[in-house]
Symmetry: C2
Subunit: 429 residues, 2 copies
Amino acid sequence: MIELDDTHDPARTSWLASANTPDCDFPLQNLPFGRFMLPQDHAPRLGVAIGDCVLDLAVLGHDAPADMTELLTASAASRRTLRALLCRALTQGSPRQGQYRAALYPLNRVRLLLPCAIENYTDFYAGIHHARAVGSLFRPDAPLLPNYHWVPIAYHGRASSLLPSGSPVKRPLGQVKHAAEDSPQLRPTAKLDFELEVGIIIGRPNDLGSPIPIDEAASHIFGLTLLNDWSARDIQAWEYQPLGPFLAKNFATTLSPWIVTLEALAPFHAPLARPEEAPTLPYLDHDEDRRHGAFEIALEVSLSTARMRQAGETPARITSSHFARAAYWSAAQMVAHHTINGCNLRPGDLLGSGTLSGPTRDQAGSLIELTEGGKTAITLPNGEARRFLEDGDQVIFTGKATKDGFRSIGFGACVGEILPCPQYALPRD
Amino acid sequence: MIELDDTHDPARTSWLASANTPDCDFPLQNLPFGRFMLPQDHAPRLGVAIGDCVLDLAVLGHDAPADMTELLTASAASRRTLRALLCRALTQGSPRQGQYRAALYPLNRVRLLLPCAIENYTDFYAGIHHARAVGSLFRPDAPLLPNYHWVPIAYHGRASSLLPSGSPVKRPLGQVKHAAEDSPQLRPTAKLDFELEVGIIIGRPNDLGSPIPIDEAASHIFGLTLLNDWSARDIQAWEYQPLGPFLAKNFATTLSPWIVTLEALAPFHAPLARPEEAPTLPYLDHDEDRRHGAFEIALEVSLSTARMRQAGETPARITSSHFARAAYWSAAQMVAHHTINGCNLRPGDLLGSGTLSGPTRDQAGSLIELTEGGKTAITLPNGEARRFLEDGDQVIFTGKATKDGFRSIGFGACVGEILPCPQYALPRD
């Protein structure tokens, strides 16, 4: 585990006032990395979020990383050095204030990109309450399959359709077969859903054929993001046997703009939802990970409908959950499992945690759970009802790592708005 | 469909004698594209296979494509122009013979790479005989699921572990649970298998949110390769529910070195294994594709064991199959299906066909089918028996497009050798 140092000191404040407000996601203790562009730019810049601004890492001059890969693959020591340097320079009273202030851009004036180029995206299924709840809808006789407690279940997602927060999501077309029908039809999905996940960004790679042992796994993780694994439940139900979800998921996956580093998260380690005494194969078992493999991250999902925005109403919170109360497997276990067969992880690769539903229904991380498969609508404060997402709905994820005695740090929002299904002209012979 | 022209004329011969031998994979009529490096190179070169040589595309001077993406995304007209130009220059009596001869390198003196950079890899399941045979082993009660005849089933594979032909493959470790056991153990797979597939390489991309109609799908396909989707059956059986195969497949996937273009394959169109009258949703249905959606490509798998190589014996053919007799879905249907939800395909993306087993057991494209799940060993000419692959086994795929009245064209071999499972030290607490 990464040791605490004076960059985690909650008493430390910045000369940038917006970083010191209590509800700010990006205080001095966070310093998450991302990529952004100014209106005139042709290539991404590397940045660090601080208060309501982004700091252009070009301020580091000769020491600035050439690209995100250099940052992702840096040694633990140089990551620590960079964090300490940025923290000092942004601290109240720093002699570098003038130089650094000139490299700040207001967040609302820049375009935020995916935080890094992502070659491969794997989605895990580590949220045990979600696995049980959704399993009971798809397979009432066997909600949690016998392998669940042994295997960190995962499948490969689609890297090409990963989107930065704020990108719209078009309602997908797909094959849907209603129970009363003999054959499927091509339809816009009527069961569009979100999935509340945490994304794990890989830093240092491993060679093909060389597993990463569990006791080294954390050193291959750069940091965490929020992730919305949009899902079309009706398409999924018809297509997913026997090889898993495909078109039900790969039309879009939205990522929050900042990678919150493991260094920043060091104060927030917590036990997993897996009981410490649960039997685990040795390659997935490590004492420290067993006791502190999760993080104290509170997660929230809010919905803003077109009608709510027209009426000037604020988004309505529809669920809240928590990483540590939901995750049966740790990020380190996901890395150790993913590579045990020799599979190679690349810098910037993304691992989704799986939907992080809490143990009770009001903590569910997807609508299919909140509405019992669409049976029971949820009602929004303005009286609108939702079973699944409608066109114009905006889904907003937020996350906050919180612990007594430490400054809370946030992830920045992961936002997507549903656009209508595009008109589709069938081909002519 | 691409029209035939004089580049398909079987009477045309090359000034390079090796291109004119009857069993040569790379006659003048083929001209497949790939990437290679000379011993002193630091970056890949683009090449075309001809006879026993590779032609460095730098010979085109100012007209040489800057990289494979430029070639992949070229218009149909410019692809046709390039093919005609290369064909003429390599034809007997060409005035460019001297210039082109200077750009030839013997194939056995260069290192062949993956034919293009591949961002995304999707594996389909279009071989209906394989789907039925393997389905009956994993699910005796429901070998072919109800969605099979409607949905071109697919899942996302792993791009990072794609390997060029000739790369060794280490036997993977993984969780395996024997029927008599209460819990799984970490073991080297004892059921290592190959899967005989054709790879489809995407040329022109589509935008996220914009499906490719079936009547335009072929124009987004650059060409075909051979593909070995190595599989660990014991790992697969334990892990694959409910989200599909993961570690059972993603340790390695081997690709043949050359992309045989749709232009070169134009004479070899053939009906699919799907009956013309089978009901199909309109977005997957197109008259031309229904009648000629497959290709006359004969496929063979040979095995060379360590003992055979020691004794100087040639590899033994263990199965032979045929694209058109095996594939229920066409490459165009795979493209139309993959994008119907708006998913974006990128230049160089790879679609695997799925295992192309023929209708009878001796035409099976995997050992699990040839040996009925490992029950009945196959016997090699030297008396060795195989249920699954053993260390030192070399698996060799070849493919040949053949039709009366046309010059046969080949794919080059797709080869991989199994290395022992690496020693793995369990982590200490």
